[in-house]
Amino acid sequence: MRQNKYFIDKMNPLLKIFILLIITIISSIDFYPFLSSVLVISGLIIGSIFSSLSFREIMTSIKAFIIMSIGFMGIILITRYISKQNLELLRILGLGFRIILISVYTTIFVKTTDPTELVMVFIKYFKMPAKYGYPLLTAYRFLPTFKDEMEIIKHAHQVRGIKESKNPVIAVWNSKRYIIPMLATAVRKGVRISIAMETRAFGKYNDRTYYRQLDLNKQEVTTSLVYSLYIFMLIVLLHSNNLTNFTLFFKD
């Protein structure tokens, strides 16, 4: 992934987490839609220019969340209307934009970050012991295998004449036929992998080295700082025009 030509794709995941964290905090305390909508737009523009994702790709992955946030706003509005409370349209709009804001930045983060690098960040910067980091990576690698196994189990059921119900409730109830065997094979694999790791002296020595090196390069740090500064300026600008509503506790 490192040789990728797009800037966001090769950025150190730590810096991406840093920006995501700022966005998350802002979106959790601001009740007005102005700041979040500006950040959504800038996120979309920057994401589609500086990462391997196109504008259309980002939009397809957040489409569901836009629909969800509209439904979310609608329900709250209806309940407030029925119970004759103040409508607070602006704040509810802010709540909806909050969901979109987080989903835009998360989509860009997830789709441009290599899982291995993310775990390396956990190990290197957050001091997660390798004992926990590597099993996570190993398990992540098995996701496609799980999918194959699911198909095998499905076929095994079919061969034995089990028909899938079209009724969603029954289908959910029947999912235990898949979950138990899947869990059993997952546990069995886990035990085997752990034996394989232990026979290779995993976690035996404290001075282990890493094949992949993560480094913070100056250009990436500067860019992240500039973007954080941009967010900060935006807050100051909107705040001085009374367009923000920072509060933890919402009062009517």
Partner: protein, 188 residues
Amino acid sequence: MKKKISLKEIVVLAMIAALMGVVFTGIDAIYEPLKALTGPFGGAIIYGAYLISALLSMYLVRKPGAGLIGSLFTGIVNLLMGSPYGIHIIVASLLQGIGVEAAIAIGGYKKFNLLQMSLGAVLAMIFVTIRDYFVFGFALYGNLMVPIMVVRTISSIVFGAGLTVVIGKALRDTGVLSGFKIEAEVGE
């Protein structure tokens, strides 16, 4: 009695977490439309299913820290699979893990019956709801808050603790868990 968690158990927890991450993405597919259609109220009905990762990890391994590790692993896998909640999901899984750990620690890591697991589920639910209160602006819901809490509690007990015990026992019966504490503690 209280032993440190071994590498074998960590790897197994990670494997279960990866699987749970997939299952949760599946639940998300039900949860989101339900939430869009019926608002937070409908989402609360199947809310308890999200607690399974922390509860099941604890139920199978039965050592201090197991619930927290299982829950966090699931959160990270879920994030990597493209969860809409971003970093919030890591915070949520952290809180779930802490809730379950706290409840089981009250029982001294000895009791793992349905009652104890339900306590863990409800405690985890309360912690996460406190976070939801700020993140999703629950204060805006006004009077809706009480029924949501009731439905969430019932859901945590039925779908969280209940399903965990059922799945855990079924998994023990398959015999793959030999060498785990759950296997040694037969008959409860």
